[in-house]
């Protein structure tokens, strides 16, 4: 797979030539490390019930860089641990969305005809509902969903967009002479899908997945903020925001830091995703 590696390297060089994208990668890497290794790196136990008369609402300081909340818990530690939930849920939901959407779209685009029309009307129907309404409806049906449950809900409300993208791309690739040549050779359709079509849509799907990841983080936060997402003590960035919301006027650090975590992560992921999108833009001349 040295060819694939070379391709990825070339793409990376081409994709990130400017400082904003490099800063985005660096910052995102930092966030991911902090979140991933939160159990090792976090200065305090995120759920420790300390002496909260003494430790309640401490402003940011050397000991507590992000301050403490009403229960005297360290906000930095909570944000680091909360990121595990937020980013984990977002990643899992993107996996669901890509798996369902790519398969759906690839089959529709490849098969064409009535089959295509039927599959796409189904995805249109899901797409026609505002996503947040769909999520509100579904979360009201599921009591106290787990993190995986939330991810599943977020994933199954976002696959139609992914399926449209994959379908359009597959339809485009299907018309290529090399696909016709494969048919003339007597290559079975599933093998054509595997060798020519799915690798062909992979770059677009990765970009879409990055952008979907960026968009699902605030969505999960919204659900949690509305009290429809995860339930305590599990805390995502949205839950932390919710906890701090009624104290925000007096204790700004309770909302600023979790909000910043969301915004910074989303901006970084979006920047990277957009650069990747530019790099694989088919209108640009192939090497």
């Amino acid at each position: 797979m040295s060819a694939a590696t070379r391709r990825i390297r070339a793409l990376a060089r081409e994709a990130f030539p400017d400082w904003p994208s490099r800063v985005a990668i660096a910052v995102l890497a930092l966030v991911l490390l902090a979140v991933l290794f939160a159990p090792l790196l976090a200065p305090y136990d995120p759920n420790a019930l300390a002496d909260f008369v003494r430790d309640q609402f401490l402003a940011p300081s050397m000991h507590h860089p992000f301050g403490t909340d009403q229960a005297g818990r360290d906000v930095l530690s909570r944000v680091m641990h909360g990121g595990r939930v937020s980013l984990g849920v977002a990643a899992l939901s993107v996996v669901v969305s890509v798996a369902v959407g790519a398969l759906w779209g690839a089959v529709a685009g490849f098969a064409g005809g009535v089959f295509d029309a039927t599959l796409m009307r189904v995805s249109d129907a899901v797409l026609a509902f505002p996503r947040i309404l769909l999520l509100l409806l579904m979360t009201s049906l599921v009591r106290a969903p787990s993190a995986a449950g939330i991810a599943l809900l977020l994933g199954i409300t976002s696959w139609p967009g992914m399926s449209r993208l994959v379908r359009a791309e597959v339809r485009h690739l299907r018309e290529q002479d090399y696909v016709l040549a494969a048919r003339a050779l007597g290559v079975p359709w599933w093998r054509t899908l595997r060798t020519h079509l799915l690798p062909g849509v992979a770059p677009q799907v990765s970009v879409a997945a990055a952008l979907a990841f960026a968009s699902v983080i605030p969505l999960e936060a919204t659900l949690s903020f509305l009290g429809l997402g995860l339930h305590p003590p599990a805390a995502s960035w949205g839950n932390i925001l919710l906890d701090g919301a009624d104290q925000a006027a007096a204790h700004w650090w309770l909302v600023l830091f979790p909000a910043l975590a969301i915004v910074v992560t989303v901006v970084c992921v979006n920047t990277i995703g957009e650069r990747l999108q530019d790099a694989i833009d088919p209108r640009r001349v192939a090497p």
């Binding site: 060819a3 391709r7 290529q176 002479d177 090399y178 016709l180 040549a181 494969a182 048919r183 003339a184 050779l185 007597g186 290559v187 079975p188 093998r191 060798t195 020519h196 690798p199 062909g200 192939a286 090497p287």
Partner: protein
Amino acid sequence: MSALVAVRDLVVEYAARHGRRRAVDGVSLDIARGETLALVGESGSGKTSLGRAILRLVEPASGGVTFDGIDVRALGREPLRALRRRMQVVFQDPKASLDPRLTVGRIVREGIDAHRLARGRDADARVERLLDDVGLAAADVARHPHEFSGGQRQRIAIARALAVEPEFLVLDEAVSALDSTVRAQVLALLASLQATRALTYLFIAHDLAVVEGFATRVAVMHEGRIVECAPARALFSAPTHDYTRALLAATPRVPW
């Protein structure tokens, strides 16, 4: 002369903005084993559609195609897939007909794998032999299509087609995109492959000059119909149809 390919009253239609457009309008022709039938006509005359309908890459609206006595239109999925081994195609633009993500080795192997003609080392050896046959190096298996010139890419496409050991090859404007020296080289390759492998060619071109000296017979296509079909020499020296004359008059006569 027994016909390897026999086409009868073939009609190919495409959905157009208003109703249907006939690309091939009742064509009958025979292609004898071992010959090169050139199919000549301007773009839009239906040559490509005819070639693809013979290979059943497009479904004809009506008419019949037989290949070595087999009714191509009546075949189900698996028998058709098996028959595809015997008839192959080389397209005009090797840039579009070779998947840019695959190595030359994988491209040439595609048919070998699809028909399970060889496995592992045997398949590798086969690919290398094919590359050698079309004038490429065995080491080229690891390279990608974009590393090759247009003529070399067309050689890769020819190797891919030959990998399944076909008897019949549709050369759909296979040399039209190449400049004249390279074109002459590829034509020479095709001629020698035809001799060593007993191939039958349907050679589609828009340019009569390319056809002269290469084709056994020439069929001239115009607006979906064959207006004239004659042995190459006769057609060039004494064209009978007005359209053929016009086409000849528009062709610079370069000795091949």
